[in-house]
């Protein structure tokens, strides 16, 4: 009596989806509706009271979105997921669920610039404090933990430098202090790396990047690992205490190992409203089916481009963990043996001005502020995404004046290299 566990490629195509029971439609329909008819008052009361599974209003849930959520949960190896309008929306809901005013969390200093802004500025207005630490030194996280600390946040593959983080080392600190470890897995995607296998409790995604993969739809997601005990410390009352929003329901006791995802939905998404549109959920779901194929090609192409850049005399340095000489190579082999991802940085001997010339000289690469598209993308963080940071912060975040970040697409790698070659000739 043994049951087959489907492989990753199978889950990427099938998990969460079923034929439409009324029409037989095999693709997941776009349920472009705001609301759902109740059978009767009792059915409505059951849905509003969380007593029945089902849909009420698309600000809280939607059947197209639900397929995307279940598929993400399956691919990450989590218990449940919640899709949102963006990765920023997902982060807002996570921290709203674990923090009260006056409480804090410890976050890696090297993060996506947007996350640095959200944590450092926007969250201040809620009375939520971020404390920055260095992923290369797990004790820098531990030293800042106090009785008001409620979580630890890292990226699995850090933006913009493309460095793998020792998730297990940070996870050990989190576990020792009874804190949930939240991991942004956007750059790696679950094809390359599954943080729950290394001690993460919550995974967050910008679906806008590799998950959707085609640069056409914004989206975010929270995946619940089902591993954290939200009731043990009494520090997470959104999950462990009776909730007045639902007549006194205790979410952790009621929903067990998927309570965090439910709490983010019914206490966060319901009241803040960063819902994903059904159409975006559909497009991202379509992209997700080919995630394994795309991620492998992205990684293979990126390695070839990194090797080529390493031999170019205008390049001061290349930071790509897939290169055997890279200081991050051992962590890549441990955490992401299938490849080192698509996004990395390199430094130009000509500094800031050479960076500007390069991003303005490319023809195939697109100069824009995104990553994880099928198309190759390029950006000079110091003049764009990280512009608002001080020079000191820029360097700390891996976005110094000479740094160029590329997101290598799935085109022919010869064409990608040829474009860099012609643009560098003018830089």
């Amino acid at each position: 009596m043994s049951q087959r566990t489907p492989g990753f490629n199978t889950l990427a195509v099938h998990a969460g989806a079923k034929p439409d029971p009324a029409t037989g439609a095999r693709a997941t329909p776009i349920y472009q509706t705001t609301a759902y008819v109740f059978d009767d008052v009792d059915h409505a009361a059951s849905l509003f009271g969380l007593k029945a599974f089902g849909n009420i209003y698309t600000r809280i849930m939607n059947p197209t979105q639900a397929v995307l959520e279940e598929r993400l949960a399956a691919l990450e190896g989590g218990t449940a997921a919640l899709a949102t309008s963006s990765g920023h929306g997902a982060q807002l809901l996570i921290f709203h669920t674990i923090l009260r005013p006056g409480e804090n969390f410890i976050a890696a200093r090297k993060l996506y610039g947007g996350s640095i802004n959200q944590f450092g500025h926007a969250f201040k207005n809620f009375g939520w404090e971020v404390r920055w630490a260095d992923v290369a030194d797990p004790s820098s996280f531990e030293k800042q933990i106090d009785d008001k600390t409620r979580g630890i946040f890292i990226e699995s593959l850090a933006n913009p430098g493309g460095e793998f983080v020792d998730i297990e080392a940070i996870g050990n600190v989190a576990r020792k202090h009874g804190l949930p470890l939240i991991v942004d897995n956007t750059l790696a995607s679950p094809y390359l790396l599954r943080p729950f296998e290394h001690g993460a409790d919550i995974v967050v995604h910008s679906l806008t990047k590799f998950i959707g993969g085609h640069g056409n739809s914004m989206g975010g997601a929270i995946v619940d690992g089902g591993t954290f005990d939200w009731s043990k410390s009494g520090n997470y009352p959104m999950l462990s205490e009776p909730r007045p929003e639902y007549g006194g329901v205790v979410l952790h006791e009621t929903f067990g190992n998927f309570a965090f995802a439910i709490a983010c939905r019914v206490l966060g998404l319901r009241d803040f409203g960063p819902a994903i549109s059904p159409f975006n959920a559909f497009l991202i779901l379509t992209g997700l089916e080919t995630l394994p194929l795309r991620m492998q090609r992205h990684s293979d192409n990126a390695l070839k481009v990194a090797e080529w850049l390493s031999g170019n005399d205008k390049i001061a340095w290349v930071s790509y963990p897939g290169l055997p000489t890279d200081k991050n190579h051992a962590l890549q082999k441990k955490y992401s043996p299938l490849g080192a991802g698509s996004v990395f940085t390199f430094g130009l001997k000509g500094g800031y001005d050479a960076g500007v010339k390069l991003v303005e000289g490319v023809e195939l690469f697109s100069h824009l502020a995104n990553l994880g598209d099928t198309k190759s993308l390029i950006i000079h963080p110091a003049s764009t995404t990280h512009r608002q940071l001080s020079d000191e912060q820029k360097i700390a975040a891996g976005a110094g004046p000479d740094v160029v970040r590329i997101s290598v697409g799935i085109e022919n790698f010869e064409d990608i290299i040829a474009d860099l070659e012609q643009a560098l000739s003018g830089a």
């Binding site: 049951q3 199978t10 095999r26 029945a52 279940e70 899709a83 939905r265």
Partner: protein, 173 residues
């Protein structure tokens, strides 16, 4: 029987065969998990007998509440235990004293008692521990996916629809 993980076929076989379920520890408080489960199982067409000495003689969701399993006037197919693990053994003894014997003894999420389980299995009764029948029903029917929960099931077959909107059943193999 491995009680650390159950095959989907074992659980769906149980949920598709039992018709009457006694819920030991069913609460009248409508925000308690045992109330949620009682309501859900009634909505799915099971005949539910709430067991709760403090509520005996009253009505719960239109069903008469009994003090003890032995008081239920009809055959019980499944006993669902909503009590702490330490309280399980005497309840299983009561269940095994019933005639006809129940087909299944089910212990809720976090509830596990291996000695009681072995006793029940020796008497030919199937046992499920540390699971919730509402979650398992939602998982195997596909309903739970509407709330973004990983059902662990993939299938290209037509979902089984029950009466009304937004109600799936568990497919018969």
């Amino acid at each position: 029987m491995n009680h650390d993980s159950y095959d989907n076929a074992y659980i769906s076989g149980i949920l598709n065969s039992v018709k009457t379920i006694a819920i030991v520890g069913a609460s009248a408080n409508d925000v308690r998990p045992s109330f949620f489960v009682t309501k859900y199982l009634i909505d799915k067409g099971f005949t539910v007998f709430p067991i709760n000495p403090g509520q005996a003689g009253k009505d719960l969701l239109g069903r008469p509440v009994y003090a003890r399993l032995a008081d239920v006037p009809e055959p019980i197919d499944m006993v669902d235990i909503f009590r702490a693990s330490s309280a399980v053994l005497p309840i299983v003894d009561e269940a095994l004293a019933l005639r006809p014997l129940p087909k299944v003894i089910w212990m809720q999420l976090t509830v596990r008692h291996d000695e009681a389980a072995a006793k029940a299995e020796a008497a030919g009764v199937k046992v499920v521990m540390n699971r919730c029948p509402k979650i398992e029903y939602g998982r195997l029917s596909g309903e739970i996916g509407w709330n973004g929960v990983n059902s662990g099931v993939i299938s290209s077959k037509k979902p089984t629809m029950r009466q009304g909107f937004q109600s799936f059943g568990i497919r018969q193999k």
